[in-house]
């Protein structure tokens, strides 16, 4: 039972990235005979087809690739940005720190999803824009975390002794400070992938994210709305997949937290 989320994520990864190697599985291919009338799940199409006669299973697997890609790349972006800004602010303090932390306050007081919607509607929506926008609007939490950690680590004896040994600044920061900040960052990054997948689905649902003919779970949901009553499978399949994926990622992050935080292990 505890391994289930890991197996699920692994399976989604292997299926979605391995699909490209199987000939004949094309998410954009549609069956002209079936177009216009979505087909209910059958042996030939286990999850049914959509209104253009495209296989929902194939599209879901192909959508998984895009959703995971968006989730992971945007979190990598926001984590790299968040960690570097946090290290910078924590290490140097002073005026730079004060200015950057005010900017963090500004960005944190904005309603994020609304901001993302505005940016996406103004710039041409594309997969990479989605990644960049999610990445650039979600680094502030990591920055605060890392900065606080650096500020506290700075007072510890091993840092003072390393400084006394005349160690270079970059070595001090990357070798001695960075590793101490990593465990909370890993936990929040795992959570971040799930929330980025959810954000992508909202954006694509509103037509501001991944554009057709590419399949993403979000734009599959967008397409399913007018047909919800006649072809519920078009909506249920991608919705359940998003839920299972985000659920597994959140459980993973919970496990990581429990493993990293001994205090919590004692309590719960």
């Amino acid at each position: 039972m505890r391994r289930l989320p890991y197996l699920y994520i692994l399976a989604v990864f292997i299926l979605s990235f391995g699909m490209s190697f199987i000939p004949g599985l094309d998410a954009t291919r549609f069956d002209p005979l079936l177009a216009g009338q979505p087909q209910a799940p059958s042996l030939h199409h286990p999850f049914g087809t959509d209104d253009l006669g495209r296989d929902v299973l194939v599209r879901s697997i192909s959508g998984a690739k895009i959703s995971l890609l968006v989730g992971i790349v945007s979190v990598v972006l926001s984590t790299v940005l968040g960690v570097s800004v946090g290290l910078l602010c924590g290490y140097f303090e002073g005026v730079t720190d004060a200015i950057i932390m005010r900017l963090v306050d500004v960005l944190m007081a904005l309603p994020t999803l609304f901001l993302i919607l505005i940016i996406q509607s103004l710039w041409k929506p594309s997969i990479w824009n989605v990644v960049i926008v999610i990445g650039l609007t979600s680094w502030m939490g990591t920055t605060r975390l890392v900065r606080a950690e650096v500020l506290s680590v700075k007072q510890r004896l091993f840092i003072i002794s390393a400084k006394a040994r005349g160690i270079s600044t970059s070595r001090l920061v990357f070798k001695h400070m960075l590793p101490h900040t990593l465990s909370p960052v890993i936990v929040s990054a795992t959570l971040g992938v799930g929330s980025a997948i959810l954000t992508e689905s909202v954006l694509s649902f509103l037509g501001l994210g991944v554009q057709p003919p590419y399949a993403s779970w979000g734009n599959m949901l967008e397409r399913s709305v007018p047909l919800m009553n006649e072809a519920p499978w078009m909506s249920i399949v991608p919705g359940v997949l998003i839920t299972l994926t985000v659920l597994s990622l959140n459980v993973l992050s919970d496990h990581a937290r429990a493993a990293l935080n001994k205090k919590e292990r004692v309590v719960s």
Partner: protein
């Protein structure tokens, strides 16, 4: 008395001035973001058949032909005098356009907040108290699932089940067109019927956070020495749970509520949009699609003020509830 008053004012100003700078920063960031983007509303709102001169005239009238800094200074100057401009779409003053949408949003957010508070506390308390039992595991599983679901999809599924298949509830909207003149009671019933689905959607998505939190707090509190002492004194379990554990688990609630506010603000946007609930969120999303700059600026500033005030209030409330924090 005078000294304490002076202190309060000083404290107040120390909070207020940074907040004002934050707001200024927000307005600058959002203004630049919107106006630096390619394309402009003048060409979006116009008939493509219009002549170039007319287009230029319209841009001039809207002030869109001036340098960005001048436009921002102009906007700021007007806002400081209380003029937020007019919606490009409806022509209404921005503040009025937003104020018109306030009641529907308030109904939705106040009722969802109240229910979240009323439901999460007993759920979290009990699952913490009965840790690792079937009840706890079910609550944990359900709250995790609720958190992982895309809220808009949950809304659609609920709509499919309760409106389209079972036909128990209206799919969307606020009040049927024919009911504007009927009695207050009839209107309330109609609105309440429309409220159920969006409310359920918000609840299922946001029960998880606070429930998990209370569960965790309760588990922590129950291991404390004073609980052991209370048990040793022979106090009943209900008394321990409600008198000792509950009180302490509730402390950080105010802070959490303040922190939940931004998510509640932008989270309800999409839900309002799906259920055609005539609130601020729906206005915001349609303004996004129409590039209605004045309305967008107004909405962003209003929500930011709300978030800042929320954080602030939760800070004040926390100090008030827990006198140990100075």
């Amino acid at each position: 008395m005078n000294i304490t008053n002076g202190l309060y004012i000083k404290k107040f100003l120390r909070r207020l001035i940074p907040s004002l700078f934050t707001l200024l920063g927000i307005s600058l960031v959002s203004f630049m973001l919107m106006h630096l983007a390619p394309g402009d509303p003048a060409s979006m709102m116009l008939d493509p058949k219009l002549s170039l001169q007319d287009k230029a005239l319209l841009k001039h009238n809207l002030g869109l032909d001036q340098p960005l800094w001048t436009q921002y200074g102009h906007w700021l100057g007007h806002v400081l005098r209380g003029q937020w401009g007019y919606s490009y779409v409806s022509g209404k003053p921005v503040l009025r356009a937003i104020a018109e949408r306030l009641p529907a949003t308030m109904i939705l957010s106040v009722s969802s907040l109240t229910l979240i508070l009323m439901l999460t506390l007993p759920l979290g308390l009990w699952s913490g108290y009965r840790k690792d039992t079937g009840f706890d595991k079910t609550v944990t599983l359900l709250s995790f699932v609720g958190m992982a679901m895309p809220t808009f999809w949950l809304g659609l599924v609920l709509m499919l089940i309760f409106s389209l298949k079972l036909d128990w509830l209206p799919t969307s909207g606020f009040l049927e067109p024919g009911l504007e003149t009927s009695s207050f009671w009839e209107q309330s019933v109609a609105i309440a019927q429309h409220l159920i689905l969006p409310l359920m959607t918000i609840l299922i998505g946001s029960l998880a956070g606070l429930t998990r939190y209370y569960r965790f707090e309760t588990i922590g509190i129950l291991t404390q020495d004073y609980i052991q002492a209370a048990r040793a004194r022979g106090l009943s379990e209900t008394r321990i749970l409600f008198k000792h554990a509950l009180k302490n688990a509730m402390l950080p609630m105010v802070t959490l509520l303040g922190l939940m506010l931004p998510e509640l603000v932008s989270g309800t946007f999409v839900i309002e949009y799906i259920f055609s609930w005539p609130g601020m969120g729906q206005l915001g999303i349609s303004a996004v699609f129409a590039r209605d700059y004045p309305v967008l600026m107004g909405m962003l500033m209003m929500s930011s003020v709300l978030i800042i005030v929320g954080n602030w209030l939760s800070d004040v409330a926390y100090r008030w509830v827990d006198p140990r924090i100075s």
